[in-house]
């Protein structure tokens, strides 16, 4: 396995670019008109996870964006997925 230093050498620039992209996405949303929806709340929760000191942030972020309801419907009320439990 690579050392921390080797991993930084390999992937820091890429990760840095992704963080800037996220920042720009939030700025863009701020500038644009209208109102957002609940997806933004999930997004904010996911960003909080990034700041937590834990070894399983990716898993925790995926859980933030997961449908946690126990109910099972008979047939699908709609098709497709939006990336966060919106209904």
């Amino acid at each position: 396995m690579l050392s921390k230093k080797e991993l930084l050498n390999l992937q820091f620039i890429d990760a840095r670019a992704r963080v800037i992209d996220l920042a720009a996405f939030l700025d863009r949303l701020e500038r644009h008109e209208g109102v957002g929806d609940i997806r933004l709340e999930y997004f904010a929760k996911a960003l909080q996870v990034l700041q937590e000191n834990r070894p399983d942030r990716a898993k925790a972020v995926l859980e933030v964006f997961s449908d946690m309801t126990p109910e099972i419907s008979e047939t699908a009320p709609f098709q497709g997925a939006t990336g966060a439990p919106v209904s």
């Binding site: 080797e6 995926l62 008979e74 009320p77």
Partner: protein, 266 residues
């Protein structure tokens, strides 16, 4: 580097893609039956699709020296109407003995409904009746965690099921552990926008180990990349994995799982 692409939807790819796969070292590929991007209007549409999977695609692949295998079922997205699903399932016995058919798949859940679950379980029973492996699709995005749990719960009711002959595909960080802990195989799908990136797939290997796990491109009609497996192998190399560690994931493991089907030979 030789490798096996264990999950690709070649009916929606060009012949150029077969050439790319061959150049990259792909020796065999497996094509699960799936949703073709639109709902088919009749069971006849599936009859033609099953012919395409068992007659036409193997020939197209053979032109590039690639062995083509397939899995049969009605996919979960079109299985939400049980009457229609059963009409399609009635076609399976006519095709199941064909020489490139590995087993039943990709069955599973899409929107986690009772109708989908019922049809999922009927498919599992077909696989048991023919003693064939099962390839399972897990839902997308927000539906994946719940769907994966429902699938694992449902499989618990099949006492005769050999879990080493079942692969649960499209796992991510929040589902890989539960699939492997329950004794099933896990598949990681490398997609540009959803599912796993190469680096996340390698992380999952580091966290959960390299037994009973494979990776695939699941390339289809959507945004996807038939070169995803060799690209991930390249990423492993950049992260200082040895050639034999890479070969285990991209060749040995798929071979170990797939050869449980009597029709898989390389």
């Amino acid at each position: 580097m030789r490798y096996i692409e264990p999950h690709a939807h070649m009916v929606s790819r060009t012949t150029d893609d077969y050439e790319k796969l061959a150049i990259a070292g792909c020796e065999a590929l497996c094509e699960p039956a799936f949703w073709a991007g639109f709902d088919r209007s009749s069971a006849d549409g599936f009859h033609d699709y099953f012919r395409q999977l068992t007659e036409y695609e193997p020939k197209r692949a053979a032109r590039f020296g690639i062995k083509h295998f397939c899995w049969l079922c009605i996919n979960p997205k079109e299985a939400d109407d049980p009457g229609f699903a059963r009409e399609v399932m009635a076609l399976i016995p006519d095709f199941i003995e064909r020489e490139n058919v590995l087993g039943i798949g990709e069955i599973g859940l899409n929107k986690n409904t009772r109708s989908e679950l019922k049809i999922f379980e009927e498919h599992v029973q077909i696989a048991l009746d023919y003693d064939l492996p099962v390839l399972i699709h897990t839902p997308h995005l927000e539906d994946k965690l719940k769907g994966t749990k429902l699938i694992i719960d449902s499989l618990a009711s099949f006492s005769k099921l050999d879990r080493s002959k079942v692969i649960i595909d499209h796992v991510e960080e929040h589902t890989a552990g539960m699939v492997l802990d329950a004794g099933f195989w896990a598949g990681m799908t490398l997609y540009p926008e959803s599912k796993c990136t190469p680096n996340r797939a390698i992380d999952i290997l580091e966290i959960h180990g390299t037994e009973r796990i494979w990776m695939n491109s699941a390339c289809d009609w959507g945004v996807s990349d038939p070169m995803a497996v060799p690209k991930c192998a390249l990423e492993m190399r950049r992260r200082k994995y040895t050639e034999s560690q890479i070969a285990k994931i991209v060749y040995d493991n798929p071979l170990e799982f797939l050869r449980q089907s009597p029709r898989f030979d390389l």
